[in-house]
Point group: none
Chain length 249, copies 2
């Protein structure tokens, strides 16, 4: 077997299993552990996998700067993501807001999904590069280097021109009385326009954000169609939201 072929198999095996040990790979490929070690080093230099002591692990699917934040509440975000993907169907136009919750949803989409994704979030694009049947429309504008999204009037103009079937909205704070609010003014403007231009708005929120408020008002709870959280909601809250016409899960 030639080296390039080994590299392919190595990459496949490691990304499939998330991790692998030298001994296991050495036996799989019928080469010495030294060779496997060297192969792993080469692949790691290319940024394809990550070399660790005793073997290798798969790269996280999200870009590096995001990894720090991504490790926060991974399990919770995963729960939200699983709830969210059930709403997405082939043929739809789906908008993804910035933020790690929406990113988790993008990452949870099945690889063969056939949708048109609209987003102003670079990490979302990073994820969707490998989805062969997903058309991606990126909303341009000024880059915000903290959130890796675009901002500004061009961004808002572009959002106004697209009517999405579903818009996933990452939420800072949500409260029945004060509605959805954000800490950042520009982000607020973006979200306002996303809400205004979607057929169905799905807000993603970890449970600890429910019942809190921030300075800038995006929209009332009525304007949201679905709220997805990482936990079970008590019946009282559910019916309170239902009174406003909002499905909360």
């Amino acid at each position: 077997m030639i080296k390039a072929e080994r590299h392919q198999l190595l990459t496949k095996h490691i990304t499939n299993n998330q991790s692998a040990q030298l001994k296991e790979l050495s036996e799989l490929l019928h080469v010495s552990e030294d060779t496997v070690r060297r192969d792993i080093k080469e692949l790691a230099d290319l940024g394809i996998i990550k070399a660790v002591r005793g073997g290798a692990i798969a790269h996280s699917p999200v870009p590096h700067h995001y990894r720090d934040r991504e490790h926060l509440q991974v399990a919770q975000k995963e729960i939200i993501a699983q709830k969210a993907v059930r709403f997405v169907e082939d043929g739809q136009v789906v908008f993804f807001d910035g933020g790690t919750s929406t990113l988790a949803v993008a990452a949870a989409l099945p690889k063969d999904i056939q949708i048109t994704v609209v987003t102003n979030s670079f990490p979302v694009v990073n994820i969707l590069e490998d989805y062969p049947s997903a058309e991606v429309i990126f909303i341009g504008g000024r880059l915000n280097k903290k959130t890796f999204t675009t901002l500004g009037s061009e961004t808002i103009d572009a959002i106004r021109n697209i009517k999405a079937d579903i818009s996933f909205l990452g939420i800072c704070s949500i409260d029945l009385e004060r509605g959805i609010t954000t800490r950042d003014y520009e982000d607020c403007l973006i979200k306002k326009n996303i809400v205004a231009n979607a057929k169905t708005v799905i807000a993603l929120s970890t449970i600890n954000k429910v019942g809190t408020a921030e300075p800038f008002f995006v929209c009332s709870v009525k304007a949201i169609d679905v709220v997805l959280t990482d936990d079970t909601i008590d019946k009282e809250t559910i019916s309170l939201f239902e009174e406003e016409g909002v499905l909360i899960q």
Copy 2:
């Protein structure tokens, strides 16, 4: 058996099996390993398969994928990049086209440079995320998953609205008579608009691309201000370009 026939069989065999060794192919085609090696090299130069030590492997599912080219001709691109950064000054608005040459220029910029960067290339944004004083404006549009740039009418509209001080143009082919040409129609449209809207156009080209031509016409050589290459140019060529008002280095 003629060469073209061998090439067909080779391509078929390699794409079917994902990879193949020299010996195996040599026996299959009843020619020496040297010939197979040369065949593979030719097919690899055309980007049909990938030549590797000991044989060849099929290209990643998407041909001409950006990631494959990323590490190609690093030294040459570095030479071009060093020539290019000398043209950039603080306070300017600089446009970066897609492609690995322009990417190398972006990567060669000093970390503290204070410019406004406009681009439709995701890799360029990735580089500039870490430049604290560089403002980044991203041109939105439809994502091309091969080049990781945006395309389409929105992209072109946005380009028209920005007048850059300097535009760096990655070049497929450049020829004194036939001008600058590309292989891809949509890419051609983008480049056309970049050239039309820049004060200074700097074309980046590895030396092997000078004197070649592709189907789609972007602009005449006159429209370019500077051509940067990875090698020294003979005096005759220099004066020929100078007659057209083009500085070539």
